[in-house]
Symmetry: C2
Subunit: 334 residues, 2 copies
Amino acid sequence: MTGNGARPGGRDDGGDASVDEARARSAVRVGVDIGGTKTDAVAVDGGGAVLGELRVPTGFGAEAVVATTVEAVSSLASQLRVEPREFSSLGVGIPGSVDSGSGRVAHAVNLGLEGLDLGAELTSRLGVDARVENDVNAAALGVYSRLSSADRTISSMAYLNLGTGLAAGLVLGGRLWRGSRGNAGEIGHIPIDPTGPLCPCGQRGCLETLASGSAVSRQWPTDHPRPVQELFEAASAGDAAAEAVWDRLLGDVASAVRLLVLTVDVDRVVIGGGISSLGDPLLGGVRDTLDGWAAASPFLASLGLRERVELVPAGFPAAAVGAALVGAATGDAP
Amino acid sequence: MTGNGARPGGRDDGGDASVDEARARSAVRVGVDIGGTKTDAVAVDGGGAVLGELRVPTGFGAEAVVATTVEAVSSLASQLRVEPREFSSLGVGIPGSVDSGSGRVAHAVNLGLEGLDLGAELTSRLGVDARVENDVNAAALGVYSRLSSADRTISSMAYLNLGTGLAAGLVLGGRLWRGSRGNAGEIGHIPIDPTGPLCPCGQRGCLETLASGSAVSRQWPTDHPRPVQELFEAASAGDAAAEAVWDRLLGDVASAVRLLVLTVDVDRVVIGGGISSLGDPLLGGVRDTLDGWAAASPFLASLGLRERVELVPAGFPAAAVGAALVGAATGDAP
């Protein structure tokens, strides 16, 4: 969504253009999603509409990650013909353990980071107030903003991220719920099968060992760039081993949905992360699994699980958009 | 806590006594906890202190339950030398499916109720605005008010009720979180063992089949009036069968605590309900189990589960006190 509409305040309607421009600029918020291999940046206006977006490769290590972020924000500013310091806020989503109050990243293993004051560093280099959030929480905010603007009756949502790991972000009463120590949504380490696989966390049968990219890799080893796609195709072609793994995967993803609804009773559970890129076959399979459970349990049927689950829209930069909203949505109480 | 301090506005400090009395009366809130066999009523002042309390047997069926509640509130009013209509609000906790917005009870099986407009009925008979809440949610509010007034750093809590069934009430950011359809905290029907017992809900291995009074009854059938007490004593005396049931019970209660912390990351998980009346042996056993898990999992150790779990103080009428606070704490956003 760049192009003619990309320059904030660029309209010429006979009003005081400089004042309009200043006003519009002051409302432009930038969000950056620092991923393991790529970094997405978006600029959104006061109403949440995307004014510009771009993608750069992510560097490895503290200095490279900071440089990547500075480059992304600077490029986005150039694209919008402003200076970075003219953005009203900067939010960053990062896959790691974050103190969202201070902007400090305790560790982000896949990025080679430890003990980095990322918020302060970016504020200093870019001249704009920077906040830092865990990437799953950022994505939850991004998806929620989209869902709730399309349907005003929605006020709570869980974002279920099925990447290499499994975790959720919770939006309750319209606000991000981080929990008392920032661990809300760490459902990947809830054991649901006492005889399940050992988890690197030291427990056995954690949800993450059953319904994540790593769970698929263990059960369906392949060099295919999209293992879940290959698994689904093999299962569809009648490969019995693939069918067994696929059915288990659907059941375990459905278990995560059920756990979220029974615990926090959110309006929607929205699935994202690498596994979700499979699209309709995943969503349809999970919904069918939930329907099967509902047929056997009037209690589950009364919860309407099927209607609550959906996928992140393909191509929607949820974590970057959510990061842009972090500044407006912070606060410990939902 | 009845006696000299029980009469609101009864002080004589030279001010305008009638105005003071009216003011004090207007701040007296009444809470009623309608249990399966007994009904507790309390009156609390604006600061949450208990001004009076009493207990009456609960009748069976719609008319008897309404009559019980009217009797309890009227007796409490007499005790405090006021009329029921002089109370500022009335809150009722009831074990059933409640629409807290309308005050309608869809069903409360153990009380023989179905489709009763309890809130409207009580408002009409007593002349005071009545609200109705699920008893577990009411207890959560009651426990939270006590915890948070003793420690202002606490802003979130789960109340884990281990009665015949198992359910939780959530207070997040200082407010009751009911969820989008009033089902928040229904963790008793989350399966955690695919080979576990069949649950009346139609699923297998639900938490409720493992860590509740009914779970104990199934595994340790007895005519003892306090089965968990007998189970604990037999286990302590070296009965191998009792030891196995007792250890499993501790593990399953600890699983419920872990699930709550990993999902909503509350400051405290407070255990109440019939099983909690065992007291220290239960709390100590659950804490020891959590310690054992922490020793095997640095991740779990980092969560500090042991420090977060405690029991409802013995004799504290949590649900009645919480019901009294319902009027002030309602709202869908936590």
